[in-house]
C-alpha cells in the first residue's frame, strides 16, 4: 500500500474501533439491564461465580454486603468480563469463557460457511439481473428467492436429513465419532448448506446486490469506460460488487447467527446456539450473557472488517 494511503486508513480504523468499543459497552449495558430487571437477585449469583475458589466465595457474599448499587455491580461484572472472567455456568459449574471458546469455533465455521453459500447463490443471480435486466429467467428466480427466504429453516433441515438418510444412507448429525468416518466432510457441509440457503436473507441480499450494481452501472464513469472501449466489469467491480458484498455480509451476520441457533438444534451441532438454547432452558444466566456478548462482539467485528475494506478501497478515505 502506498504510504500516502496509510494515514487516512489509520484514522478511519481508529474511529471505527472507538465506535465499536462504545457499541460493545452499550451492548454490555443492555445485557446487564435485562438481568437487573429480572426477578430474584441474579447478580449475587453471577458475581459469586466470577470469584475464584470456594472458600473465598462465602466470604465475598458477606463482604459484598447487602444490596449494592447497580452501577457498582455493573462495573465489577464488566471489569471481570474484560479480564476474561465470564463467571461459571450454573448448570455445569464450568467457566463460561472456556466453554464458549470450545463451542464458539463450531458456530464460527457454521456461520462463515453458510455466508459463503448464501453469497454463492445470491451473487450470480444479482449480477445476471443487473447486467442482463429482465430476461425470461428473471421472474422465476425472483419468486424462488422469495419462497426460499420465507421457508422455515428447521423444516428445511428435516427435509435434507430425510434425503440423506434415504438416498445416501447417512445420518448427518454431528457426534463424537463422526469426525473419524470417511464421509466426515459431508456431515459438516449439510448444516452449512441448510443454513446458507434457509437463513431467510437470500431474497434481500439478491435485491441489494442487484440494486447496487445497477446503480453503479448507470454512473457517468461507467459510461466513459464503455465509450473508451474499456472493460466495464473492471471499473464497476469495486463499487458495484466488492463494497456492497462486504456491506451486506456485515449487516446479515446477526440473522445468520440467529439461524444458527435453530440449525444447531436440528443437526445437534455442538455450537454456541445450542448452548444458548440450553442456557435459556436452565436459566443459566452467566452462560447466556456470555454468549450474548460474544455474539455481539462477532457482529461488531464483522462491521469493523467491512469498514477496513471500504477504507482500503476508497482513495478518498472514509466517507459515508
Amino acid at each position: 500500500m502506498r504510504p500516502a494511503a496509510i494515514r487516512p486508513i489509520a484514522l478511519a480504523l481508529s474511529r471505527e474501533i472507538a465506535l465499536t468499543a462504545l457499541l460493545l459497552l452499550g451492548v454490555s449495558f443492555v445485557v446487564f439491564l435485562i438481568l437487573y430487571l429480572s426477578p430474584g437477585d441474579p447478580f449475587s449469583v453471577l458475581l459469586e461465580g466470577q470469584t475464584v475458589g470456594d472458600a473465598s466465595r462465602a466470604g465475598i457474599r458477606e463482604a459484598l454486603g447487602a444490596p449494592r448499587a447497580w452501577y457498582a455491580q455493573y462495573l465489577s461484572w464488566l471489569g471481570n468480563m474484560l479480564k476474561g472472567n465470564f463467571g461459571t455456568s450454573i448448570r455445569t459449574g464450568l467457566p463460561v469463557f472456556g466453554e464458549i471458546v470450545r463451542v464458539g469455533l463450531n458456530t464460527l465455521t457454521l456461520t462463515l460457511g453458510s455466508l459463503l453459500i448464501t453469497l454463492c447463490i445470491a451473487v450470480p443471480i444479482a449480477l445476471h439481473a443487473a447486467v442482463r435486466g429482465d430476461t425470461a429467467l428473471s421472474w422465476p428466480l425472483t419468486m424462488l428467492a422469495y419462497v426460499v427466504s420465507a421457508l422455515p429453516v428447521f423444516w428445511l433441515g428435516y427435509l435434507v436429513i430425510y434425503v440423506f438418510i434415504h438416498r445416501f444412507g447417512l445420518f448427518p448429525l454431528i457426534s463424537g465419532s463422526s469426525a473419524a468416518q470417511e464421509h466426515a466432510w459431508l456431515y459438516f457441509m449439510v448444516p452449512i448448506a441448510v443454513l446458507g440457503i434457509g437463513n431467510g436473507t437470500v431474497s434481500e441480499v439478491i435485491r441489494y446486490l442487484r440494486d447496487e450494481m445497477s446503480r453503479v452501472m448507470a454512473e457517468d464513469y461507467i459510461r466513459t469506460a464503455r465509450a473508451k472501449g474499456g472493460s466495464v466489469w473492471r471499473h464497476a467491480f469495486k463499487e458495484g460488487l466488492l463494497i456492497p458484498v462486504t456491506e451486506i455480509i456485515a449487516s446479515k451476520i446477526p440473522f445468520i447467527l440467529g439461524g444458527a441457533v435453530i440449525v444447531e438444534q436440528v443437526f445437534n451441532w455442538p455450537g454456541m446456539g445450542r448452548m444458548a438454547w440450553q442456557a435459556a432452558q436452565d436459566r443459566d444466566f452467566p452462560v447466556i450473557m456470555g454468549i450474548a456478548m460474544v455474539a455481539a462482539a462477532f457482529v461488531r467485528l464483522g462491521s469493523l472488517l467491512q469498514s477496513l475494506v471500504y477504507a482500503a478501497v476508497n482513495p478518498r478515505g472514509p466517507q459515508e
Binding site: Y221, A227, G229
Partner: protein, 366 residues
C-alpha cells in the same frame, strides 16, 4: 473533388418510450449530418434538442428502449469503412400512421449484440468521446494516470506498462496539467473540474482516434476555465487536426472552434452550413431559431448600447406531443400571413439556399 466525409449520418431516428404516457419521446427524429475529415462540426441547440442523444447513438451507448430505430451512420477512416447501424432493419419493424412512426417492434437483445460486435472495436479507438461533468465521468477509485494508460494500452501499440505510462505523462503535459508525473497518481476527487476535463481530453486523444466527439465539454465549468479549455481544444485541433463533433448550447464556444455548424431544434436539424454563414449576426438568410439564439447571447455591443436581450418566447418543445407543422411555429417571431398556413400544417424540408448552407423554413421556399 472533395474527399468523402469521415462521418455521414443519414436520417437517424432515436426514440424512447414513456410507459406512463404510452407514447414515444422522439429525441432524434430524422437527423442528417456529415463531417469532413479534419473538420470540426459544431452542433448547437437548447437542452432537449437531441444533440447529446445523437452523439450517444453514434457510439451505440443508448440503453433505454427502443433506442435507435432507423438510419444510417457511415464512418470512413483510413482503416475502415462501415455503416455503424448495419443490419438495423433486420431487428426493427416500424409502423407508420399519417407519416409519423407509431409502432416499433424491436429485437433489442439481438440488436444490442449486433451493435456491440460492430462498435466494440471502434469505441475509444476510432471514435473517442468526452463528456460533460468531467468529475463524475472519471472513475473515482482509479488514478487518472491509470485511466489514461488503460486507453493507451487498449488502442495503441504501446502495450507495456512503462511505455504506456510515459505516453500518458506526455499527454498530461500536452493538455497543460502541471507536474504531470505527480498528477499521474492523483484521483478525480482531488482535482478541479478543469483539470478533470483536461485529463479526459488526454485520455480520449492518447488513443489517437479518427473522430472525437465532445459533448458539452465546457458546461459546468467556471467561466474562466471554460475559456481555457476552449483554447486548449483549439490548440490541439490545429496541432493534430482531429476531426471533431462538438456539441454545446453555448454559441460562443461553438463559434470559436467550429468550421461548420448545425443547429438542432426539437430533434431535427433546422439549419446547417459553414460557421461563417450560419453564425453571422448580419442579414444572411437563417432559420428564425438561429437568429433568436444569436440575438439572445449577450455581446459587447448590446451591453454598450444597453439593449435588451432578446428572449425566445414560448416553452421547450414537448417531444412527445409533436405539433403538426413546423416544430418551431409556436415560438417563431417571423411568421408572415402568406406562409402561416404552411407553417402550421406542414413540416418543411431541409433545403439548400446557398452553397453548403441548408435551412428548414418556409420563409425560404417558393
Amino acid at each position: 473533388m472533395t474527399a468523402p466525409p469521415l462521418l455521414k449520418i443519414e436520417n437517424l431516428r432515436t426514440y424512447f418510450y414513456s410507459r406512463s404516457k404510452q407514447a414515444f419521446i422522439r429525441s432524434v427524429d430524422g437527423v442528417s449530418l456529415q463531417i469532413a475529415r479534419g473538420e470540426t462540426l459544431g452542433v448547437v441547440g437548447e437542452s432537449g434538442s437531441g444533440k447529446t442523444i445523437t452523439a450517444l447513438s453514434i457510439l451505440g451507448l443508448i440503453s433505454a428502449g427502443p433506442g435507435v430505430i432507423s438510419g444510417k451512420i457511415g464512418l470512413r477512416t483510413d482503416t475502415i469503412q462501415k455503416n455503424l447501424l448495419q443490419d438495423l432493419e433486420m431487428y426493427v419493424t416500424l409502423g407508420q400512421r399519417d407519416g409519423k412512426i407509431m409502432d416499433v417492434a424491436k429485437d433489442e437483445a439481438g440488436w444490442r449484440e449486433n451493435a456491440e460486435r460492430i462498435m466494440g472495436r471502434l469505441r475509444g479507438k476510432e471514435i473517442a468521446m468526452i463528456f460533460q461533468s468531467p468529475k463524475s465521468s472519471l472513475n473515482p477509485f482509479v488514478s487518472i494516470g491509470n485511466q489514461i494508460t488503460e486507453a493507451i494500452r487498449l488502442h495503441t501499440s504501446a502495450k507495456d506498462l512503462k511505455g504506456a505510462k510515459e505516453r500518458a505523462i506526455y499527454w498530461l503535459e500536452r493538455v497543460k496539467i502541471d507536474s504531470p508525473r505527480l498528477r499521474f497518481e492523483s484521483y478525480s476527487y482531488g482535482l478541479s473540474g478543469g483539470m478533470c476535463q483536461r485529463a479526459m481530453i488526454a485520455m480520449a486523444l492518447s488513443a489517437e482516434p479518427s473522430l472525437l466527439i465532445a459533448d458539452e465539454p465546457t458546461t459546468g465549468l467556471d467561466a474562466t476555465i471554460q475559456s481555457k479549455i476552449v483554447d486548449l481544444l483549439a490548440e490541439l485541433k490545429s496541432e493534430f487536426g482531429v476531426t471533431t463533433l462538438l456539441i454545446s448550447h453555448d454559441i460562443s464556444v461553438i463559434s470559436r472552434l467550429s468550421g461548420s455548424v448545425a443547429v438542432m431544434y426539437g430533434g431535427t436539424v433546422v439549419e446547417y452550413g459553414p460557421a461563417r454563414d450560419v453564425l453571422s449576426a448580419g442579414f444572411a438568410p437563417k432559420h428564425p431559431y438561429t437568429g433568436a439564439l444569436l440575438a439572445s447571447v449577450p455581446s459587447a455591443r448590446n451591453i454598450q448600447q444597453k439593449a435588451y436581450l432578446q428572449v425566445i418566447e414560448g416553452e421547450v418543445l414537448d417531444t412527445i406531443n409533436l405539433p403538426r407543422g413546423c416544430r418551431f411555429y409556436a415560438r417563431c417571431n417571423r411568421v408572415t400571413e402568406a406562409i402561416r398556413k404552411k407553417c402550421a400544417g406542414d413540416e418543411p424540408d431541409l433545403r439548400e439556399i446557398s452553397p453548403g448552407h441548408h435551412v428548414r423554413c418556409w420563409l425560404y421556399f417558393e
